[in-house]
C-alpha cells in the first residue's frame, strides 16, 4: 500500500500522470463523502473569501499552479513553473510568462485557453465586482495572450514573488464563456454560474444547496486517465467540529472531515472509535496575544481610546504599562507554552515564540532556548528589578501608581476560554490581575466601526486570536507591523496593525524586504523583522497551530496541504479495499 501511495504522490507532484500509474478506471470506487462543519455557501471563490468556499470550489476549478503539501510550487495546468532561470520571469521581475499544457478541456468539452485566464483577471479586477481575491492580482497592469496556450502577466513594479495571480486555490481560472455576462455589478445575478462553475478539475457539480450539501460527479473530460477514482462526491456542510469528527472517526458515515478545532483529549476519544484517524499539517498560523500599544482606558474620549497617535515614529498615546519591556517580557515568561499546546491542540500545535514560524527558512531561532520554559520566579525578579512592585499591599503590582490590571479579550471558543483561565492564573502569580471577556466571533472579527467589541478597535489591554498568511511569502503579512497600518477612527477602524506597533527601524527594514529579490536574503530580513516585532512588544506568540483534519481508514491518497486547498489532490484519492 505504501508503494502505491508513493506512486500516487509522485504522479501528483510531477503532474505527469502517465497512464501506467492509474490503477484502474475512472469512477471505480463509488462515492466519497466529505464533511465540512462550515458549509460552503457559494462555489465562486471570487465572490466569497471564505476558506470553506475556496476549498469546495477547488475540486471543480483549478489554478495554473499550486502549492504542494510541503509548500513547493507545482505546475498544475501549465508545463512548468516560470522562473528567472528558465526565462519564464523577466530579469526585471516585471513580467511572468505561463505556458499552458496543451489538450486541456473544460468539463463541457470546450478547450481551455489563455483567453479564459485573461478573463479571470478581468472578472476579479472589475471595480464593482467586490472580488474577494483582489490582492492576488495586486500590481497587475495587463494580461497578454499571444496565443491560445501562452499567458503573459505584466506588473507595475518588480515583483520578487510574481506567483500571486492564477496560483493557489484562491485564484482559480473560471470559464470565459460561462461568466462573460457576469462581470462587475452583474456578478451576483449569475446564480447558476456561481453555484455550478464549469471547471477543469476532477469533479463537476450536479446539485448545489448553499450552506447544506453539494453533489458532484467525476468530470469525464478530466485530463488524467483513470482519475478521479471516485464516481460521485457527497459534500455535506453544517453543524460543528465535534459532530464532523464523530461522523468520520466514530460512526464512519463520512470519509473526510475538515479542520477539527477540538481539544486533543476529545480527538483522542474519537480516534478510539477506530473508523478513521486525524492528520495534522502546519502552515504559518499562530495563536498569539496581541499587546495594545495605545491606551484603552474606558474613561478616555473615543478620539483617544485605543487610538494610535504617531509623531515622528513615537507613540503619543501610549499604554500606561504595556510598553515597558519588563512587563511584557515577564508576561511572556510566566506562560507555560508546552502546557497550552497539550491542553488545547495536542498534535496540531507546537510551542513557538515567533510571529512567522513557517515556512522553515523564515522561522527565527532567536527565542528557542527560553520559549518552552515557564519561569514565574524569573518573571517576578524581572518586574522587581524594573521597580514595578506592589506598593499598596493588594497583591497587584503598580507601575508609576497604575496597577497592573489587564482586560483580556478573545473570541468565543472552548480552547481559547481554557487558555484565558490558565493565563489569568499564571499572570496572577506575577502580580498582574486579569479580567476576562469573550466575544462572539462574528462580532469580534467583524469590522463594524459601530461596535466596541471588534478586534480592530481593541478596547482592551490584550487580546488573543490566530492569524496567518496565504502562500509561502510573508512580505504582505509582515507589513502588518507598519506604523501607518494602525486602525484609527479616520480609517473607519480598518487596518491590520492591530497592536498599533510602531518602530522606525521596523518600517525601514520592511521597505528593504520589499526591494530584495534573493530568497536567502529575504528570509534573513524576514527573521529579523519577526524578532524585532516580538522583542519590542507587539505580541506574545503562544502556539504554532496546525490544521487538523480526519479521514476514514478506507480513504487513501489524502495528503493534508496547509499551503493550498486541503482538497488539492482529490483526484488522487481512492478507496482502500
Amino acid at each position: 500500500m505504501t508503494v502505491r501511495r508513493t506512486l500516487f504522490g509522485a504522479a501528483a507532484l510531477l503532474a505527469l500522470a502517465p497512464m501506467a500509474f492509474a490503477a484502474g478506471e475512472r469512477g471505480r470506487d463509488g462515492e466519497v463523502r466529505i464533511i465540512y462543519w462550515q458549509a460552503p455557501s457559494i462555489l465562486n471563490p471570487f465572490l466569497s473569501g471564505g476558506t470553506k468556499d475556496v476549498e469546495a470550489a477547488s475540486m471543480i476549478i483549478e489554478p495554473l499552479a499550486r502549492y504542494d503539501e510541503n509548500g513547493n510550487l507545482v505546475p498544475w495546468l501549465v508545463e512548468e513553473i516560470p522562473t528567472v532561470a528558465n526565462g519564464g520571469v523577466s530579469a526585471d521581475l516585471r513580467q511572468i510568462t505561463w505556458k499552458i499544457k496543451p489538450g486541456i478541456v473544460w468539463s463541457d468539452g470546450t478547450p481551455f485557453t489563455s483567453a479564459d485566464v485573461k478573463f479571470t483577471w478581468e472578472y476579479c479586477s472589475h471595480p464593482e465586482g467586490g472580488c474577494a481575491q483582489l490582492t492576488k492580482f495586486e500590481g497587475v497592469t495587463s494580461v497578454e495572450t499571444p496565443d491560445d496556450l501562452t499567458v503573459i502577466v505584466n506588473f507595475d513594479k518588480p515583483m520578487p514573488n510574481p506567483y500571486g495571480p492564477f496560483v493557489g486555490g484562491e485564484s482559480p481560472i473560471i470559464q470565459k464563456a460561462q461568466f462573460e455576462n457576469c462581470v462587475g455589478a452583474r456578478a451576483p445575478e449569475c446564480t447558476d454560474a456561481n453555484f455550478a462553475p464549469i471547471g477543469t478539475g476532477p469533479f463537476k457539480v450536479v446539485e448545489f444547496r448553499p450552506n447544506d450539501v453539494i453533489r458532484m460527479v467525476a468530470n469525464e473530460n478530466y485530463r488524467e486517465e483513470g482519475k478521479p477514482a471516485f464516481a460521485t462526491v457527497l459534500f455535506k456542510g453544517g453543524g460543528d467540529a465535534t459532530a464532523a469528527g464523530r461522523a468520520v472517526m466514530e460512526t464512519g458515515e463520512f470519509d473526510y472531515a475538515w479542520n477539527l478545532q477540538l481539544a486533543p483529549d476529545v480527538i483522542a476519544e474519537m480516534e478510539k472509535g477506530g473508523k478513521g484517524k486525524p492528520i495534522a499539517g502546519f502552515g504559518p498560523l499562530v495563536e498569539r496575544i496581541m499587546l495594545n500599544n495605545t491606551n484603552p482606558d474606558p474613561s478616555l474620549p473615543p478620539e483617544l481610546r485605543s487610538v494610535s497617535i504617531i509623531e515622528n515614529y513615537e507613540q503619543k498615546n501610549p499604554h500606561p504599562f504595556l510598553r515597558d519591556p519588563a512587563v511584557y517580557k515577564a508576561m511572556s515568561m510566566a506562560i507555560d507554552r508546552p502546557l497550552l499546546v497539550e491542553i488545547g491542540y495536542g498534535q496540531a500545535g507546537k510551542v513557538t515564540c515567533n510571529w512567522v514560524p513557517a515556512p522553515e527558512i523564515y522561522n527565527s531561532h532567536t527565542f528557542d532556548a527560553t520559549c518552552g520554559v515557564q519561569d514565574i520566579a524569573g518573571a517576578n525578579k524581572l518586574l522587581d528589578d524594573a521597580g514595578i512592585v506592589d506598593t499598596d499591599g493588594d497583591g497587584i503590582r503598580e507601575k508609576n501608581g497604575v496597577p497592573l490590571k489587564i482586560l483580556y479579550q478573545t473570541s468565543t471558543n472552548a480552547v481559547r476560554q481554557d487558555f484565558q483561565a490558565l493565563i489569568k492564573q499564571w499572570w496572577s502569580e506575577i502580580g498582574i490581575e486579569t479580567e476576562l471577556r469573550n466575544i462572539n466571533a462574528s462580532v469580534f472579527f467583524g469590522g463594524d466601526p459601530g461596535s466596541p467589541d471588534t478586534f480592530q478597535k481593541f478596547y482592551a489591554d490584550v487580546q488573543m486570536y490566530a492569524n496567518t498568511f496565504n502562500g509561502t511569502d510573508p512580505q504582505a503579512y509582515l507589513a502588518n507591523g507598519l506604523c501607518d497600518k494602525a486602525p484609527r477612527p479616520e480609517t473607519q477602524w480598518q487596518g491590520e496593525n492591530i497592536s498599533r506597533f510602531c518602530m522606525k527601524e521596523y518600517d525601514e527594514l520592511w521597505k528593504k524586504l520589499s526591494e530584495t529579490a534573493d530568497i536567502e536574503e529575504r528570509a534573513a530580513i524576514a527573521r529579523q523583522l519577526n524578532d524585532m516585532a516580538v522583542e519590542n512588544g507587539m505580541m506574545i506568540p503562544l502556539v504554532h497551530r496546525g490544521r487538523l483534519s480526519a479521514h476514514s481508514n478506507t480513504l487513501g491518497g489524502v495528503k493534508l496541504n496547509v499551503w493550498d486547498s486541503e482538497l488539492w489532490n482529490v483526484a488522487d484519492w481512492y478507496r482502500i479495499k
Binding site: A39, S41, I42, N44, S48, G49, G50, T51, P127, E128, G129, G130, C131, A132, L134, T135, C182, A185, R186, A187, P188, E189, C190, T191, N194, F195, R209, P210, N211, D212, V213, R215, K236, G238, D240, A243, R246, A247, E250, T251, E253, G273, A441, S442, V443, F445, G446, G447, D448, G450, S451, D453, T454, N467, T468, F469, Y477, T491, Q494, E496
Partner: protein
C-alpha cells in the same frame, strides 16, 4: 365574527409593515459585518469593496424601500411566473413572464430579487429548498407531540397524583429542562455511535420514492423528531393538565355528571373543550415555529432547514436573508394568532370581540 376577522386582517397590514421596519432598523443597529467571517488574510481595502458590492454603501431608507419593493412586488412576480409555467397547475393558466432577470439583461430595467449576501442567490429560492426538511422534521415533531401531549395531559389531570401523573410530571419536567444541545448529542452517542441504529447526519437530498427510501427517511428522522417532540410534549401536556384540573372542579362538571352523562362524555366533551384555550394558544404560537425551524436541533442533526438558515444568516450578518425570514415568520405569527383568537370564540361562544 366575520366582521372582526376582516378588521383584523386589514389591521395586520400596518402591523406587519411596522414589524418589518422595526426588524430592519434592529438589524441595521446591531453591530455586524457581512464580511466578518472571511479570513483575516483579506485586507481592509478589499473588504470595503466587497461591502460596496453588496449594496451597503446606500442609505438605510433606500435599502428598506428596495427590500419592500423586492418582497412585495418582484418576488410575487417570480411566484406567478413559476405558478403558470412550472407548477402542477401550469397547464390551466396562460404562461406569464412578469419577472425580468438581470443576468445578461439591462441593469436599469430588470427586476432585482432579494439576494442573500452569503450565497448571492435569491433568498426565496433557498427558503423553498430548505422548507421540505424543516416541515418533515419539525412538523412531524409537532404532530407527534400534540398526539401524545393531549391524552397525557388529560389523563394526568383526571387521575391527579396517581403514579401515572407523577411519572408524567417527572418525565416532562426533566424533558423540558434538558436543553437540545445536550439531549441531541446524547441520543447521537447512544443510537448512532454505540448502537449504530440511526444516521447521525441528516441527508437533505434524500427523496422518498418507494418503501425502502421511506424507511430510510423515517430512520433519519427518528432522532431529531424525538428530541424536539420531547420538548414540545412537555410544554403542551403541562398546560393541558393544568387547564383540565381547573375545569374538573367546576360546577358544570358536577351538573353534567348529575344528569347521568357517561364519564368519557363529561371529560372528553365538556371538560376538554373548556380546557383547550391555553393549549390552543400554545399550539398557535408553536405552528409558526414549525416553519421557523428548530435552530439547535437542526444544527445538532445537520438537518439544515430554515432554522439553520436563519442562525447562519444572523452569524454572517446576511441582512437580506434575516430580514426576509423574520418577516415571513412575523406574517405567520400574526396569522396564527388570529386563528387562535377565532378558535377561542368557537371553543367558548361567550367570548365576543365585537
Amino acid at each position: 365574527m366575520l366582521n372582526y376577522t376582516i378588521r383584523r386582517l386589514i389591521l395586520a397590514v400596518p402591523t406587519l409593515l411596522f414589524i418589518a421596519l422595526t426588524i430592519f432598523l434592529l438589524l441595521e443597529l446591531a453591530p455586524g459585518d457581512p464580511v466578518a467571517h472571511m479570513p483575516l488574510t483579506i485586507p481592509p481595502e478589499v473588504r470595503e469593496l466587497m461591502r460596496k458590492a453588496l449594496g451597503l454603501g446606500e442609505p438605510v431608507h433606500i435599502r428598506f424601500w428596495k427590500w419592500l419593493v423586492q418582497f412585495f412586488w418582484v418576488e410575487p412576480q417570480v411566484f406567478i411566473d413559476w405558478l403558470t409555467t412550472k407548477s402542477a397547475i401550469a397547464g390551466i393558466l396562460p404562461d406569464t413572464q412578469f419577472y425580468v432577470s438581470c443576468a445578461g439583461g439591462d441593469l436599469a430595467t430588470c427586476d432585482a430579487r432579494i439576494l442573500s449576501w452569503q450565497f448571492r442567490s435569491p433568498v426565496m429560492d433557498i427558503v423553498l429548498q430548505r422548507l421540505p426538511q424543516t416541515l418533515w422534521v419539525v412538523g412531524t415533531a409537532y404532530l407527534v407531540a400534540i398526539v401524545i401531549a393531549i391524552p397525557v395531559g388529560v389523563y394526568s389531570a383526571y387521575r391527579q397524583y396517581s403514579w401515572f401523573d407523577n411519572a408524567g410530571t417527572f418525565i416532562t419536567m426533566v424533558g423540558f429542562s434538558v436543553p437540545p444541545f445536550f439531549s441531541g448529542v446524547l441520543v447521537i452517542v447512544i443510537f448512532s455511535v454505540q448502537l449504530g441504529w440511526f444516521p447521525s447526519i441528516y441527508d437533505t437530498t434524500h427523496r422518498v420514492t418507494d418503501w425502502d427510501s421511506f424507511v430510510f427517511q423515517l430512520r433519519q428522522m427518528v432522532m431529531p423528531v424525538m428530541v424536539l417532540a420531547l420538548q414540545i410534549t412537555s410544554q403542551i401536556s403541562r398546560f393541558m393538565r393544568a387547564s383540565m384540573l381547573d375545569n374538573l372542579n367546576q360546577d358544570y362538571v358536577r351538573t353534567a355528571r348529575a344528569k347521568g352523562m357517561t364519564e368519557p362524555t363529561v371529560v372528553l366533551v365538556h371538560v376538554l373543550r373548556n380546557s383547550m384555550i391555553p393549549v390552543v394558544t400554545v399550539i398557535a404560537l408553536g405552528i409558526p415555529s414549525i416553519f421557523g425551524g428548530a435552530i439547535i436541533t437542526e444544527q445538532v442533526f445537520k438537518v439544515n432547514g430554515i432554522g439553520e438558515m436563519l442562525i447562519k444568516a444572523i452569524e454572517a450578518n446576511d441582512i437580506p436573508t434575516v430580514q426576509t425570514l423574520t418577516f415571513i415568520f412575523a406574517v405567520l405569527i400574526v396569522v396564527f394568532n388570529l386563528i387562535a383568537d377565532l378558535l377561542y370564540g368557537i371553543l367558548d361562544p361567550r367570548i365576543r370581540y365585537d
